[in-house]
């Protein structure tokens, strides 16, 4: 904690609050928070319902917590698999070179350029807002692995020229072992940064789709919460707690993730003695 800079501290602090609220607190709630008509509609914030109730008769506070939980779930799932696939393919591509490298490079350049949102909207639109959280995550993984792959490939290209790789090669190590034992340690800190960034990107893309009703409308995520609030004219009617709480939550989550990202880069630069 001694060398932590201000950005890292603020970021971790805000994120920790959201993780406690979004991941741990919902475990103590029995029942389904997104069920309609459980409470009187449109109650103002009070001690019984700290964020009031929605036009659909849900307790806004518990819907918000459930939404944060699901959004984090999507973010973590996509970030884990996209980073894993990307880093492995990037290392393989950079280390092996040749035809394999060209093919992988072509595929990842293609996926980076292709605008993913129209394709996601097409998929989601045909499913009419009934896509499952898992299928949305799967599509997001397909569109997010090429970014780390591209970066890690560039790093693997320079590592390949180092002596210790030659030593490993001449002592008959397998490609898989060289990649995981010799190259991976050099890209771990970068992979971690990419992991955090992908959480941000995944939550952002899913909620972007959800805000326009193209995600899974029956599931609670931060985006679908905003969607329902807009659909039921929460703004016009001045029900700011319904539309405001997910907007503030999503903004704070993104800022905290980004602060951790840029703070950790400064932190590791400091540790390298720069």
């Amino acid at each position: 904690m001694k060398n932590w800079n201000l950005q890292l501290k603020i970021g971790v602090f805000i994120l920790a609050i959201f993780l406690i609220f979004g991941v741990i607190l919902p475990l103590f709630y029995t029942g389904n928070p997104i069920e309609w008509g459980k409470f009187p509609k449109n109650l103002k914030p009070s001690s019984a319902h700290i964020f009031g109730t929605t036009n659909l008769g849900q307790d806004t506070f518990w819907v918000l917590l459930k939404s944060i939980q699901n959004s984090f779930f999507i973010g973590l799932l996509v970030a884990f698999f996209a980073t894993l696939i990307g880093v492995l393919l990037g290392m393989l591509s950079g280390f092996r070179g040749g035809i394999l490298d060209r093919v992988i490079t072509l595929i990842m350049d293609t996926f980076i350029v292709i605008p993913s949102l129209p394709i996601l909207i097409l998929l989601a639109g045909l499913l009419k807002g009934r896509a499952s959280v898992l299928s949305i995550s799967l599509v997001l993984i397909i569109f997010n692995w090429p970014w780390p792959a591209r970066q890690v490939r560039a790093m693997a290209l320079t590592l390949r020229e180092r002596d210790f790789i030659d030593t490993a090669l001449f002592s008959g190590e397998s490609t898989f072992k060289i990649i995981t034992r010799e190259i991976f340690p050099f890209v771990t800190s970068w992979s971690l940064a990419n992991f955090i960034n992908t959480i941000l990107v995944a939550i952002r893309t899913e909620s972007g789709l959800a805000v326009i009703g193209m995600s899974s409308n029956e599931q609670a995520t931060l985006g679908t919460m905003i969607y329902w609030a807009i659909q039921h004219q929460a703004m016009m009617a001045g029900r700011w707690w319904w539309i405001g709480s997910p907007v503030v939550a999503i903004t704070l989550i993104f800022i905290s993730l980004f602060l951790i990202l840029s703070g950790s880069q400064q932190y590791s630069a400091l540790r390298r003695g720069k």
Binding site: Q7, L106, I107, D109, T110, I112, V113, I114, P115, S116, L117, P118, I119, I121, L122, L123, G125, L126, L127, L200, R204, T205, S207, G208, V211, I212, M214, I226, M235, M236, I243, V247, I250, T251, F254, I255, L257, F258, L259, S262
Partner: protein, 338 residues
């Protein structure tokens, strides 16, 4: 030497071209196959929708309707024939058939009306965000110990991670509901090149444009600052300073030129993301561009319009990326094609 350069340029050009063709190919193929892999049949969907609206329909008319719709959707023949028919239409004629929700207006005409709005918004905001962001980033990176640099960076860090649509929503809440200064939907008055028309377009595009510029700027400030900080420590900058060049000259002639190059590459990589943000922003503001068209097409299950708008957006973004990539070697005096 000159011959070498040509060969290098050709290699660079061909590798970019290969990516471009792959993008178009994968994009168009995905757009073709996704609807066909769906469990719902668009023709039956349309037929049942029409039957629900008018209770009495002659079976012969229904059969005829089915035939016409199958023809319209390009669903005749084997999957193979359909696929090549689709590619042919996309690449050569850009004919996506008539729109079904606004029958019989052709899809290409609807896209033609929406495209200038989208392009206008995207080009202006991307360019402005790029220029403003890089200028601020240059200043903040070159004079990183000044207080204003820290403040500017702080603002950029806060703005960058917020998605366009969240920012757009906040702007809508403030300037269209609480303080009704700007319109919620687009109503354009005037025609042609009249002042009234131009003012009306700017007035209607203002909120979506502001949200896209502010968020876009954050990213460019951060990346430019990182690049500039690195360059400012290079030996040739130290040498220029020892030579007694003015700080202003060092910043514009030495640092700016070298820092701009990676930012051009970055722009071509970010274009898809910016476009995705624009789609959602357009929908939230009911801005009359391609994004809103895609949205309405999906809401009304207008199959031809969905295929048309999505194919055109993929083509537009990949072509723009390709062109920016080609620009790069002409900007770099050291000529490094890679």
């Amino acid at each position: 030497m000159k011959g070498m350069l040509h060969v290098q340029f050709l290699k660079f050009f061909l590798s970019r071209l290969a990516v471009f063709i792959m993008v178009v190919f994968i994009g168009v193929t995905t757009v073709f196959f996704i609807p066909r892999l769906m469990p719902s049949n668009p023709v039956e969907g349309m037929v049942s929708q029409l039957q629900a609206n008018s209770s009495l329909m002659d079976p012969a008319a229904v059969a005829k309707l089915r035939e016409v719709l199958t023809q319209n959707f390009g669903l005749n023949g084997t999957l193979f024939e359909q696929y090549f028919g689709f590619i042919k239409r996309v690449v050569f004629t850009q004919d996506f058939g008539p729109s079904l929700s606004m029958y019989p207006t052709p899809v290409s005409k609807l896209i033609g009306t929406a495209l200038p709005w989208s392009l206008g918004l995207l080009l202006t905001t991307t360019l402005l965000a790029w220029l403003i962001g890089n200028a601020i980033g240059l200043l903040a990176g070159f004079r990183k110990d000044k207080t204003y640099s820290r403040i500017l960076e702080g603002i950029a860090i806060t703005l960058y991670p917020i998605p366009y649509y969240i920012f757009a929503l906040v702007l809508v809440i403030f300037f269209a509901y609480i303080l009704p200064v700007f319109p919620l939907t687009t109503i354009v008055v005037g025609k042609g090149l009249s002042l009234q028309h131009i003012v009306s377009i700017i007035y209607n595009s203002f909120l979506p444009a502001i949200s896209m510029i502010l968020i876009g700027t954050g990213w460019w400030v951060l990346s430019m600052k990182a690049i500039t900080t690195g360059i400012a420590e290079e030996d040739y900058v130290v040498f220029a300073r020892l030579k007694g060049l003015s700080e202003r000259k060092i910043m514009t002639k030495y640092v700016l030129r070298n820092a701009t190059l990676p930012q051009v590459t970055m722009l071509s990589l970010q274009l898809g993301t910016i476009f995705s943000g624009a789609i959602v922003t357009e929908i939230l503001f009911s801005y009359p561009g391609v994004g809103t068209l895609i949205y309405n097409a999906i809401l009304q299950s207008d199959y031809n319009l969905i295929l048309g708008t999505i194919t055109v957006s993929i083509l537009a973004v990949s072509t723009a990326t390709f062109l920016i990539d080609l620009l790069y070697p002409f900007l770099d005096p050291r000529i490094r094609y890679k």
